[in-house]
Symmetry: C2
Subunit: 225 residues, 2 copies
DNA sequence: ATAATGTTACGACTATCATCGAAATATGAA
DNA sequence: TTCATATTTCGATGATAGTCGTAACATTAT
């Protein structure tokens, strides 16, 4: 009966918390499988699959079937633009979230954000790398300096997934700290290395990352400002 | 459990058809009352009032109470940006709407768009006024020229609601024609005058505007290109 | 004061849909 | 093949919330 584009249909698709979380995860630019999205959204794979189908039908994501996996990625930059606008509005509305951040103290301290380190320790590492000139910000882009590359090679033992075409360094807004932490291939590799070194481990069925006493010491030695 | 701004809450607010229609109407920039929004959204005043309250609580609109009316307007340009992005995506998705315009032929011919004339005849009138220099477009604004003002005075018999501070002329996107028609105080006055002259009448319980044979003739005499 | 109109509050009904358990299907690994 | 993993289908359940009728409240008009 009304005229105008069907904006409600699309908004309703984004309006479900689970789907919104899935889309936010896809905002990073990568392609994720249904089970990965399920973990991120905190639902079972079945529901995630259903959501994925609805999002695809609504034209918000594209699906690439590859082997027994079904990867999902944002359908177009316009979708990202909508999400970006929504994030801006949500942040400006003060409606950052009912709880201004993860409520658990452990979650606020150190947690996993999809695949990299977030929380107080995440922002601390990010700030330290930036202060030392290992990371360089240039117009919305984040680059690794010469010294930064050397540091990463030494710490990681190798280059992080050199074959991937996902960005090496990316800023990711930390909503408990309201500041940035490091995402991208380097962010993922850094966290993986810390776990491999025994500095920290993931807590079962939670996003909490628990550092050992020794791990905390080493971390502070490396990233104290 | 998740981090990030609460984008789902806001999207869910826009996700309801009634609320989406209300917001789209407010996109014009004006302030509308609850009953006006109810008519536009096709719901009863009670539900419109409830929706208005939820939109205000969600920070999408601001309310100004004035006498026994409660005017609603978009809270910020950021809200408009979100709606704009959604419209762009919806249009690009081909999801213009299940039906690309009002399905009824009569609706496509001439209908009421809130308070002014829309449809083929609406765009025809708009184009004619523009072609003759009665209306002048200057950077997104729409103004009435000297000749246009004279024409309006003659046709209307008086100036349209000179006391109001709403814009006199405004462009309104016509989604069955995908072109502009005339809104604003002048658009409202023009339609009211045509009805007063007996050229046309509203069809009960519909948005259709039915022109008489003589009314159609007069209309074509005035606004043929 | 009385009536008329705009708005809001309450209560109830209803439909939509998100969610999950169980099971089926598809693909890859051994 | 047989087993394991990823994904999808089906059915059922449960909760959210959109809707309206009735009525109260607020404000303006007569």
């Amino acid at each position: 009966m009304k005229d105008g584009p069907d904006i409600a249909r699309i908004a309703a698709l984004i309006g479900d918390p689970a789907r919104a979380n899935m889309l936010m995860a896809l905002m990073e630019g990568g392609a994720l499988t249904a089970t990965e999205l399920a973990q991120i959204a905190g639902v079972t794979p079945q529901t995630a699959s259903a959501h994925q189908a609805r999002l695809a039908e609504g034209g918000l994501i594209r699906q690439r079937k590859q082997g027994r996996h079904r990867y999902a990625e944002l359908a177009s930059p316009q979708v990202a633009a909508v999400l970006q606008a929504l994030m801006g509005l949500a942040a400006a509305s003060g409606h950052l979230r009912q709880r201004p951040g993860p409520r658990d103290a452990d979650l606020r301290r150190a947690r996993i954000c999809y695949d990299h380190l977030a929380g107080e320790m995440g922002t601390q590492m990010f700030d330290a790398l930036l202060a030392r000139g290992h990371l360089i910000r240039r117009d919305e882009e984040l680059d690794l300096s010469e010294e930064g590359a050397a540091f990463a090679r030494e710490f990681l033992g190798s280059d992080p997934e050199p074959q991937s075409r996902a960005p090496l360094c990316r800023e990711c807004l930390d909503w408990s700290e309201r500041r940035s932490h490091l995402a991208g291939r380097l962010g993922r590799a850094m966290l993986a290395r810390m776990i491999a070194l025994g500095w920290a481990r993931r807590v079962e069925d939670s996003r909490v990352i628990c550092f050992t006493g020794e791990g905390e010491r080493q971390f502070q030695a490396l990233f104290s400002s």
